[in-house]
């Protein structure tokens, strides 16, 4: 049976072809004109209205803070610290966005790898800075295996990545909830005192790697101002590595896969392998990110804690100006700073101004609103 035309799978392409062949010569210049028409508006559009609003909101916070009795330097210090905890997690979004896998709602998988690394490192008796290195060393193979499986799954369900990523994240977190109870951990610093087994929900890192990066070359001014130089340097290093990776041959191929997978395929790139690689890198960065977060925060949080870590991270990079299929290192830095700035500044300032702690509510509205905004925007280009 010769099906020259079948409803299910070739009619759109054929229709497009037909339309293209008739209208393209005309449509192309008109599009060009449109672009030339409003360079100013185009600039505003490229910066993004939501980002503009959030940036000015944050600026307003900084200006208002001293007047309502909050110490300006404490605030700055807080924002920088929060930034240093979260930046790597946000950076973990970049590879998957680049390869066209969309926003990594499956970040909890990476976080779980990190948590396994952290707990195993302590269980195996590492202490001090060594425990941090050991945690990374243990987390890495776990992240590669989990990321590999996750990437394989995402390659089978192209087009539905984001929803499935979300639920892969959730399932793995809830699965690990059982595992934290069942795995034979014994270290007295981690298990419940009375039962002698099952990990606690929160584990202090005092004596392990609490603030190992942050205290490296830390700059302290008085009581309230501290810059976690080591962490910032580490972030800079990772960002540099990511930037460098995107400039290599493989990194270039990855970006092309995200930009137009058919183009990449025609140019001889193995699209599935690139996507898999990006997922593995994202997962590994997620693992690293949670370790950096823990060293800043000083505690390991288990059980339900990783559940909702993906959403703030996703919205952070979107606030930074990324879209569902484009992201840069600058987006990461700006986004993390704006988002964490908002998170840290609003409670204190709000409280001082109107004596109402609306910060949580504002955070939810802004971050989810940002994701919604990105999802409803039409994705441009791409040959899908």
């Amino acid at each position: 049976m010769l099906e020259k035309k079948d409803n299910n799978f070739n009619s759109p392409s054929k229709l497009n072809d037909e339309l293209k062949s008739t209208i393209t010569p005309a449509a192309a210049p008109s599009k060009l004109q449109m672009r030339e028409m409003g360079p100013l508006r185009a600039m505003a559009a490229s910066f993004g209205l939501p980002r503009l609003i959030i940036a000015s909101f944050l600026l307003l916070m900084f200006i208002v803070a001293p007047f309502v009795g909050n110490d300006f330097w404490t605030q700055i210090s807080n924002v920088i610290n929060r930034f240093s905890w979260n930046a790597i997690l946000v950076l973990a979004m970049v590879p998957m966005i680049h390869s066209g896998c969309g926003l990594n709602f499956g970040l909890p998988l990476g976080i779980i790898s990190g948590l396994l690394g952290a707990t195993l490192s302590i269980e195996l008796g590492f202490t001090g800075p060594g425990s941090f290195l050991a945690a990374i060393a243990i987390a890495t193979p776990i992240a590669i295996v989990l990321g590999g499986g996750y990437g394989w799954l995402l390659n089978r369900i192209k087009g539905g990545e984001m929803m499935i990523a979300t639920y892969v994240g959730f399932s793995s977190v809830s699965f690990m909830c059982m595992m934290w109870l069942l795995l034979p951990y014994h270290s007295p610093t981690m298990v419940w005192g009375f039962a002698g087994k099952g990990l606690r929900t929160t584990i202090s890192l005092e004596g392990f790697y609490s603030e190992v990066l942050a205290n490296f070359l830390a700059i302290r001014v008085g009581e309230n101002f501290k810059i976690p130089t080591g962490t910032l340097l580490f972030i800079a290093l990772m960002a540099f590595l990511m930037w460098a990776f995107l400039h290599t041959k493989t990194g270039t191929a990855m970006t092309a896969v995200g930009s137009n997978p058919t183009f990449a395929k025609a140019a001889g790139v193995n699209v599935d392998r690139m996507r898999l690689l990006s997922v593995v890198i994202s997962t590994w960065l997620g693992a690293l990110g949670i370790l950096v977060y823990e060293q800043g925060f000083g505690f390991i949080q288990l059980y339900n804690a990783p559940f909702y870590m993906a959403l703030p991270t996703v919205s952070a990079i979107l606030i930074g100006g990324a879209s569902v299929n484009k992201a840069s290192i600058a987006n990461v830095v700006i986004g993390t700073f704006l988002f964490q700035g908002m998170v840290t500044m609003t409670p204190t300032v709000m409280n001082s101004v109107i004596h109402m702690d609306m910060s949580e509510v504002i955070r939810v509205i802004v971050s989810q609103g940002m994701i919604l905004y990105a999802l409803t925007r039409k994705t441009e280009g791409g040959g899908r």
Partner: protein, 377 residues
């Protein structure tokens, strides 16, 4: 070729198409004896939960029919229901009149929310599910803003049992003691210790009839058409956007009713958390019943509720019996809910791709056969 399928192949296909319900039947069969519950207790619990949940789950059917997938934004209707109940309890109207008033009151709220949600989803065609999922979070933020900060300060809320002591905002728990199970108890029948909330089931029955009837209407037909192929429906003159919008509005309004039935059974509102998990549990239950992202029936709803909630009831006790830790069972049932949604989503996406491949394979085979024939000549 298709007719001669062996029994084994048929059975395999049946198992593959119904893997989720089968898995749950096995889990339940395994856990029920371990939990040590008496049959009458179990039956009682299941019947109660059916009355409590079925209405909520039924509201998911219509968006699936319209091709918009699982409506994670059904929480919006739940929020509308809660807001209505908060007002009603502030006005101290109890019992059946309170329930009826709340039901009427929630309609405008959920229509408004449904319109908002529907128009956002119309802008995100092809990724409705993730978008509706995010909408539920986003609206949760707005809900908190309204309930925690505006109620009592801007929106008049008087009664001390509802309002927080600080003068604005709603308490974490609003007691509905005075209307607790008033629907369920009316006309309730007790058969051998199993209480059957006849009125609630009657309401559910009416809703089922409504859905069956709705499928036969012009609007229902349009929704099915839009759900299967938006472009063809548009070419035939159906207003696609409007049809999708209506499906979401109906779903939201029904979720509002469902939430009120749910809460009158529970007897209190956990103001800030009642709605947050409801979407997930309803969706999981529906999928456990054998529904998929693009196909769901009333039968799926009933089977799903029974299986899912049986698992829900017995898992903690069974988990404790095996490991000695009741938390294991708690986590296990959460894991099951998420896991089942994950499996259903993955199956839906792979099926979509498989069907595409099949067409291609058929074509290739035809071409190859012809080439072979050619070679033979």
């Amino acid at each position: 070729m298709q007719e001669n399928k062996s029994f084994g192949a048929k059975a395999l296909e049946f198992i593959r198409n119904n893997i989720v319900p089968i898995l749950f039947i096995i889990i339940c069969a395994f856990c029920i004896p371990l939990s040590g519950f008496t049959p009458s207790y179990l039956l009682n619990e299941i019947v109660t939960r059916m009355g409590r949940n079925i209405f909520l789950i039924l509201c998911l059917l219509i968006p699936i029919m319209a091709g918009m997938g699982l409506n994670f934004a059904m929480t919006l209707g739940a929020m509308a229901g809660e807001i209505a109940l908060i007002f009603v309890s502030d006005w101290q109207i109890w019992g059946i009149p309170g329930v009826v008033l709340a039901m009427i009151l929630q309609i405008p709220f959920s229509i408004l929310l449904g319109l908002l949600c529907g128009s956002i989803l119309n802008r995100a065609k092809g990724r409705e599910m993730i978008t509706s999922y995010i909408i539920s979070f986003f609206m949760n933020g707005l809900y908190q803003l309204v309930v925690l900060f505006m109620m009592g300060s801007i929106i008049p809320i008087k009664h001390f049992s509802v309002k927080l002591p600080r003068g604005y905002g709603i308490r974490n728990t609003v007691s509905l003691l005075n209307m607790r199970q008033c629907l369920d108890n009316l006309l309730a029948v007790n058969i051998k210790g199993v209480k059957i909330p006849v009125l609630t089931f009657l309401i559910i029955g009416v809703l089922c009839l409504f859905i069956i009837w709705f499928r036969k209407t012009k609007l229902g037909q349009d929704m099915r058409a839009v759900g299967q192929d938006m472009e063809v429906a548009r070419a035939a003159g159906i207003n696609v956007e409007h049809t999708r919008l209506i499906s979401i509005v109906i779903s939201t309004v029904m979720a509002g009713f469902g939430m009120i039935i749910y809460l009158q059974n529970m007897g209190n509102i956990a103001t800030y958390s009642s709605h947050s998990q409801i979407g997930m549990f309803c969706i999981a239950a529906l999928l456990v019943g054998g529904a998929s992202v693009d196909k769901a029936s009333i039968g799926n709803v009933f089977l799903g509720v029974i299986l899912f909630h049986t698992m829900f009831i017995v898992a903690p006790r069974a988990g404790a019996a095996i490991t000695g830790d009741s938390m294991i069972g708690e986590y296990f049932r959460v894991f099951c809910s998420y896991g089942v949604i994950t499996i259903a989503l993955v199956m839906y996406e792979t099926k979509k791709r498989r069907s595409q491949n099949r067409t291609a394979q058929e074509l290739a085979r035809a071409a190859a056969e012809e080439t072979a024939k050619e070679a033979a000549k």
